[in-house]
């Protein structure tokens, strides 16, 4: 049995090549049998699958997971006869000689040890009492145990650790030296090594609070949030693609940045939880609170052709349900999808009642990932808001009073005779609009609004010579709340596909088509330029979205001058074939005398405005007039320039915005009915169920019946698990193994805590410390336990090979990202940029060969080549090989803990991967620069990575290999270039590579 009372000591090697699953050699004091510690693990591992909570799987109607069940009258006899082991069927069966009677049955593959039998016997003789499973009993701060070595503890947690060590007649290790401690704590809190200079300052710091200063400085650095975000992103199954066959790109990096920011601000864990699970349901959610809900949009979606969206929507919702319970409470609910949980009391019914809370979001595995939310990163948004404020102020300064404006316009009035107005006598709509000719000779459409239309205007111009024709597309109050200029009131755009002008000389019946040479418009919608309005192509044309509610103009320059004589007529038709009622609402045409083809836009606009002076100066006209006026005024030039700069900056910031998939609740009345999926199959729906929280503990009253309620329930003071699970997770990152080793399972199949009272003390302290993770980290990293030397003292390896008693400092391999970041930092290559889209550092060619997606790995050449590992683009079906080989995850599923391995493929990466060669090259360059003397250069490099000074043996050995390498590197130029150097000392590069590969380098000291 693997539970903590195992006596036999196995010589297991921590985190080594073959992962050691469980075998803590912690022995607890006292001979008294504890149900939770001693008995439950035996029953759970051997009996509950047939005699547990799952009614369907239950054999012989016997359940042993409750005392009531064990006491049940089985027909004159009982599985459990309190105080009488010899009369208890349970004992008779486990000790039976007849294989037919023996329990567990031989074909189950389960077998009890003699020790197991002894424990069960003793337990029944002592009364056979049950206890609530330990993790469901609310944690309390226990009294600190008495210890002998009273001067050792620095923090209450040390007292618990020491108490247990002393019970096992082990002594704690001495403090680690300061160099090793500062390297350890820097890597643990920020994922980056300290610089040797910082370390020297700490070593020389005689202050009483020297340690505190280091920890506080590290917790305040932004690198802290980056490092700890990684832990959370593993849980959130964060990735930059959607998974499954197509595995296409997904924009969700802003959620990663949200997590970094939340850690850096030390957002309390309760708020952190509520915002991620239900930020959208908070009153007036901020943009950040909406971004936070992307937590559960990290589920995969399947864009493969022919897939059933509902199938993968259901898979995503189940993933959210399972993950929520797993991440916050360390319980597995997943099994209950198909059958009632065999080990923990969660029924299928309960599962789907809980599922109902999560079953109400709008997302449905649609390839566009909807619903999504467009957001500008907070830092830039703050800057943009400031810029906008300044802009508004400047615009106000530049604002012109109305009377002055009118006076100016009047004064500036462009001679009317330059632009005689075309006088329509007849206006006809092809598709039934009513076209009225107004007093000002403009034509206004009303009545039926056809999808497409063609207006034909017959009319005259005064005699003369004309070079241009001006079309004013004007606003009008009758065109809806935005005044047009188009007829569609929801989308008041228009598309003028073709403009045709025909000249009918007096007395003639044959019209002559006029050719247009060029045109100029005040504004053109992207892809809809005014040139399209006379190119003969009915699919192209001029449109003005999104500048609605404003007058627009276009000047068409004729190919040849138009001579108008008395009695001549013009027929002008405007074809508008886009559909969706995108037709002009009000137009006026005028013809320009020679010279008007050279007018600039401002003059054309002034002419247009002047011609409508009699109409109300609505906001858009007023803005235009003001702009035209200031444009003409040299005093305001600098103001205008500033305004232009501001606008450009704002638009640049707006371009940094990104979308992110978010959670959005379906409106009341449209909510889904949740049904049980029989045997977990969504195509096989059973009875409908209402939402209800699992009855694991007494939930607080008046919780909202939505995800917000779930989040509050998780963080409720009554919840015995959440704080324990979080404390345990943080502990495991620092010490390599959790107090509960099975971080993912706090249920009856999980392992017992090695230090239950310590876990509880810290859990209560986390809650009392208002859920501050920094507070928790500060306590642990400043403890005496954490400060211990990691050297394995004689006797310790035998007594406690896996350091479960914590009688020495933690020593284990650094996580994938830290291995990378440390090398880049030590060699000075690391780019310290916080956040932003994911990046593509070098990876061997041909790694990405996914079906269909057609997306390429474009290796970064600039600073993005050397960003922290956290920012490396993560494609679920093809993660970066260096990260995954060092046990990083693919983001496909929630990764509660990374199982550490030690493989030859890892050695090949740190020896041969471009990134590590470039780091070695950069480090060699630093070493050569540091001194004239070889010995000092090597000593310098050693400290860059390991921080502590090299010992004589180490230095000598490195100097020796330097000299040995010099004749062996035959193709120096080739080797230097593989380290991205043009010149340099190839032996030093190879030596730097040795430093990056030392065992001590790869391990936390």
């Amino acid at each position: 049995m693997g539970h903590p009372k195992t006596k036999k000591i196995r010589r297991l090697l921590t985190g080594s090549l073959f992962v050691v699953l469980a075998n803590p050699v912690v022995s607890f004091a006292g001979g008294k049998i504890s149900f939770n510690r001693d008995v439950r693990p035996i029953l759970s591992a051997n009996c509950f699958s047939c005699h547990g909570p799952d009614k369907k799987a239950r054999k012989a109607k016997l359940r042993l997971d409750t005392r009531e069940g064990a006491l049940f009258d089985l027909g004159g006899y009982h599985a459990l006869q309190p105080g009488k082991a010899d009369k208890s069927e349970l004992i008779l069966r486990i000790e039976a000689d007849d294989p037919d009677d023996l329990m567990p049955p031989a074909d189950s593959g389960r077998k009890l040890t003699n020790e197991d039998r002894r424990i069960l016997r003793e337990w029944i003789n002592a009364g056979g009492e049950y206890e609530t499973h330990w993790s469901l009993i609310p944690p309390v701060k226990a009294h600190l145990p008495e210890v002998h070595q009273k001067d050792w503890p620095l923090h209450p947690l040390d007292q618990f650790v020491l108490g247990q060590l002393e019970q096992n007649t082990l002594a704690p290790a001495p403090d680690a030296d300061r160099y090793r401690w500062i390297r350890r704590v820097s890597l643990d809190l920020t994922g980056l090594p300290p610089t040797p200079g910082v370390a020297d300052a700490f070593v020389a710091d005689k202050d009483k609070d020297a340690y505190e200063k280091v920890v506080d400085r590290l917790l305040a650095s932004t690198a802290y949030g980056e490092h700890w975000a990684r832990m959370w992103l593993d849980l959130a199954r964060y990735a930059d693609t959607k998974g499954y066959e197509k595995d296409r790109h997904r924009d969700i990096w802003i959620f990663r940045d949200w997590v970094i920011d939340a850690f850096n601000r030390d957002m309390p864990y309760d708020r952190f939880t509520i915002e991620q699970l239900a930020g959208d349901l908070l009153p007036d959610p901020t943009p950040e609170q909406l971004v936070a809900t992307a937590f559960h949009r990290n589920t995969m979606s399947n864009d493969e052709g022919g897939t059933d969206n509902e199938e993968f929507r259901v898979a995503a919702v189940k993933d959210r349900v399972d993950l929520t319970v797993q991440v916050w409470m360390g319980l597995t609910m997943g099994c209950a999808k198909c059958h009632s949980h065999k080990y923990d009391a969660i029924t299928t019914d309960e599962y789907y009642r809980f599922y109902a809370y999560f079953n109400q979001t709008e997302d449905n595995d649609h390839p566009n990932d909807s619903p999504t939310y467009r957001v500008t990163p907070r830092e830039t948004r703050v800057k943009r808001d400031a810029l906008k404020k300044e802009l508004a102020g400047l615009e106000k300064t530049g604002e012109v009073k109305l009377p002055e404006l009118l006076a100016w316009l009047k004064e500036k009035k462009i001679p009317g005779e330059k632009w005689p107005v075309f006088s329509p006598v007849k206006a006809v709509s092809k598709n039934g609009s009513t076209l009225a000719i107004l007093d000002d000779k403009s034509v206004l459409a009303s009545g039926k609004s056809a999808q497409t239309d063609e207006y034909t205007l017959h009319g005259t111009l005064p005699a003369g010579t004309y070079h241009t024709l001006r079309l004013d597309a004007l606003t009008h109050p009758s065109l809806g709340s935005r005044n047009g200029p188009g007829r569609n009131q929801k989308d008041p755009n228009f598309v003028l596909n073709e403009l045709s002008i025909e000249h009918i000389p007096a007395g003639s019946a044959t019209p002559r088509q006029l050719k247009i040479r060029t045109a100029l418009a005040d504004f053109e919608q992207k892809s809809w330029p005014v040139n399209g309005a006379f190119d003969g192509n009915p699919k192209t044309g001029w449109a003005i979205s999104p500048r609605f509610g404003a007058d627009h103009l276009a000047r068409f320059t004729l190919d040849a001058p138009l001579q108008i004589k008395e009695g001549d007529r013009l027929r002008i038709s405007l074809s508008q074939q886009y559909g969706s009622q995108l037709c002009l609402g009000r137009i006026r045409l005028s013809a320009g005398h020679p010279g008007t083809e050279n007018w600039n836009l401002a003059d054309l606009q002034t002419a247009m405005l002047s011609s409508i002076l009699g109409e109300p100066l609505n906001p858009s006209r007023r803005q235009l007039a003001a702009q035209l006026q200031t444009d003409g005024d040299s005093n305001t030039a600098s103001l205008r320039q500033r305004i232009a700069t501001l606008k450009a900056e704002i638009s640049k910031i707006d371009k940094t915005s990104t979308t992110v998939p978010v959670m959005r609740e379906k409106p009341a009345g449209k909510q889904r009915v949740t049904r049980i999926h029989q045997r977990g199959n969504f195509l096989n729906p059973g009875k409908a169920v209402q939402h209800r929280l699992p009855g694991l503990f007494a939930a607080p009253a008046n919780l909202p019946t939505n995800r917000l309620g779930v989040a509050r329930w998780l963080m409720a003071p009554e919840n015995p698990l959440t704080a324990r699970v979080m404390v345990n997770r943080v502990w495991a990152r620092l010490f390599g193994v959790g107090i509960v080793e099975t971080e993912e399972d706090f249920g009856s199949q999980g392992l017992m805590p090695s230090h239950p009272e310590l876990l509880d003390w810290l859990a209560v302290d986390l809650i009392e410390g208002e859920w501050s993770v920094k507070h928790l980290l500060r306590a642990i990293t400043l403890s005496r336990t954490y400060r211990q030397d990691s050297k394995i003292l004689p006797g310790h390896l035998d007594k406690d090979p896996r350091n479960r008693l914590l009688g020495r400092g933690p020593r284990f391999r650094l996580p994938a990202e830290v291995v990378r970041d440390q090398s880049l930092a030590a060699s000075g290559l690391l780019t310290r940029k916080l956040g932003g889209p994911s990046v593509m550092p070098p990876q061997p060619p041909g790694i990405w060969k996914s079906t269909y997606s057609g997306e390429d790995w474009k290796t970064a050449s600039g600073p993005d080549r050397y960003r922290r590992g956290l920012y490396t683009y993560l494609k679920r079906t093809s993660p970066h090989p260096a990260l995954i080989t060092f046990d990083g995850g693919s983001g496909e599923v929630c990764q509660i803990r990374r199982i550490r391995t030690n493989t030859p493929l890892q050695a090949l990466i740190t020896l041969n991967d471009e990134t590590y060669l470039e780091a070695a090259g950069a480090m060699a360059r630093l070493m050569k620069k540091s001194s004239e003397k070889l010995e000092q250069q090597i000593a310098f490099g050693f400290r860059q990575i390991l921080i502590r000074p090299a010992e004589p043996f180490e230095l000598e050995r490195l100097i020796r290999v330097y000299h040995e390498l010099t004749p062996e590197i035959t193709d120096k130029a080739a080797f230097l270039s593989s380290a991205k150097l043009k010149e340099g000392d190839p032996s030093m590069v190879a030596l730097a590579s040795i430093l990056l590969n030392l065992d001590e380098t790869l391990m936390k000291p």
Binding site: M1, G2, S16, L17, F18, V19, L21, N23, Y244, E245, M300, E304, G305, G306, T307, T332, G334, C335, H341, D344, E744, D745, G750, K791, R811, R813, P844, G846, I847, T851, R876, T877, S878, I884, E892, I899, T901, L905, Q906, A907, L908, I909, L911, N912, L917, R957, L958, V961, E964, T970, D971, F975, S977, S978, P986, I994, D999, E1000, L1002, M1003
Partner: protein
Amino acid sequence: MDLSINMQKAHAQTRRHFFGQAGMGFGAIALQQLMAKNGLAADGEAFRIPAKAKSIIYLHMAGSPSQLELFENKPALTKFHGKDCPKEYLEGKRFAFIKGTPKMLGPVFDYKQHGESGQWVSELLPGLSSIIDDVCIIRSMHTDQFNHSPAQLLLHTGNPLLGYPSMGSWVTYGLGSENENLPGFVVLASGGKTPSAGKSLWGSGFLPTLYQGVQCRTDGGDPILYLSDPKGLSRKARRKTLDALKDLNEYQHRHVGDPETLTRISQYELAFRMQVSVPGVMDLSKEPEHILKLYGARPGHVSKAESAADPRRLYKGNDATFANNCLLARRLVENGVRFVQLYDWGWDHHGSSLGESIDETLPIKCQQVDRAIAGLITDLKQRGLFEQTLIVWGGEFGRTPMMQNNVNSVLKKGFYGRDHHPHAFTMWMAGGGIKPGAYGSTDDIGYYIAENPVGIRDLQTTILHQIGLNPHRFNFPYQGLNQRLIGPTEEGKVIKAILS
């Protein structure tokens, strides 16, 4: 002096620990730990059963070839050719692409009987036909997934969702490798793309990453990622750096005493040996001409299709990539690799766009693999490796007896296609204690299974059984459940009828 004695002791301890007891492969210690946790005998007996096969070569035709053009001679379907599909085959069914009422599509190629057993095999597989008496054809396979990615995942990891360990990971986790200089689970891919479900198909899921499949690449680059030393660094220089590393790490171990350091030293040494052993085993130029010919292999051949955006249009019948991989597979199992997984992409013949048709693409794909597969079996036999190697061939599901109609509703040359069909398809197994012959059958038109259905769970159960792992007991505790390749229920059964 003291140091070296201590080191030797420590080494001995480490090796005993890792490389385990006699008879157990490299890696099986993890199993031992596992059983210790579960209170089972620590010697592995509970999970291990007598093995029929020592290694597995799994040939996966990704996309799923049409059983109706390869193994299912269906005169009745020919009779119905061009007629509307009867309603009863459509009602309540979910298809990936078929819409409305499709027409039936009779087998496009001719069948003949082959071998003493008189098996019906299509004209597209002359090579396989010549050795048909060595294989066991299972015409009654079925699955419950009808999209590529989930179906492939179910087949190889036992779960249609991502994140579970692959069969190869399970097997190497349970049995380790016979050669400590080579990875125990090797993946070789051809056809220009990785299969739909990507690298998750050889991921180790919740098992330690040590057991994930190592993809060996045959496109001219490093056969294993990062295997080559940097340019300009000689082997001698590499040795010097590793000697220094070893000395410094041993010094570290003497001061800190962490056995993990010794493991690291041994892993660096293993990496050094792999730098020689892997390119050695991957070097086909050492094979004599007649062997190359047997497979149709060509050393150093790099197909253009392998790096094309859409390789399907570049497929040629004489492309040697898959043949090379088959020959590599033999060399790998010969050298003690436990599980060799081949993926060949490009078998998804919907007939809805160019390069994916039954009438034109399928014959080319068959040419690429047929001679190579026959060569592999012949070669294994002549080396006495056949009986100890389990060979499995198939796709992730089958193809419909109806033609796919969403793009072309009438038959058009170069656009014959069939949709995904989970209800019946064909696989075959050979060697490794499998009795040659045939098992199972389908109805007259190949729509439903007529007798002896074999599910994915049965297949997995049988494979584990043959390799010497008790499929029901072999598990890993994760998320509160004893996780198994064959899933939580007991539906998977060993197909006893096909065992010799």
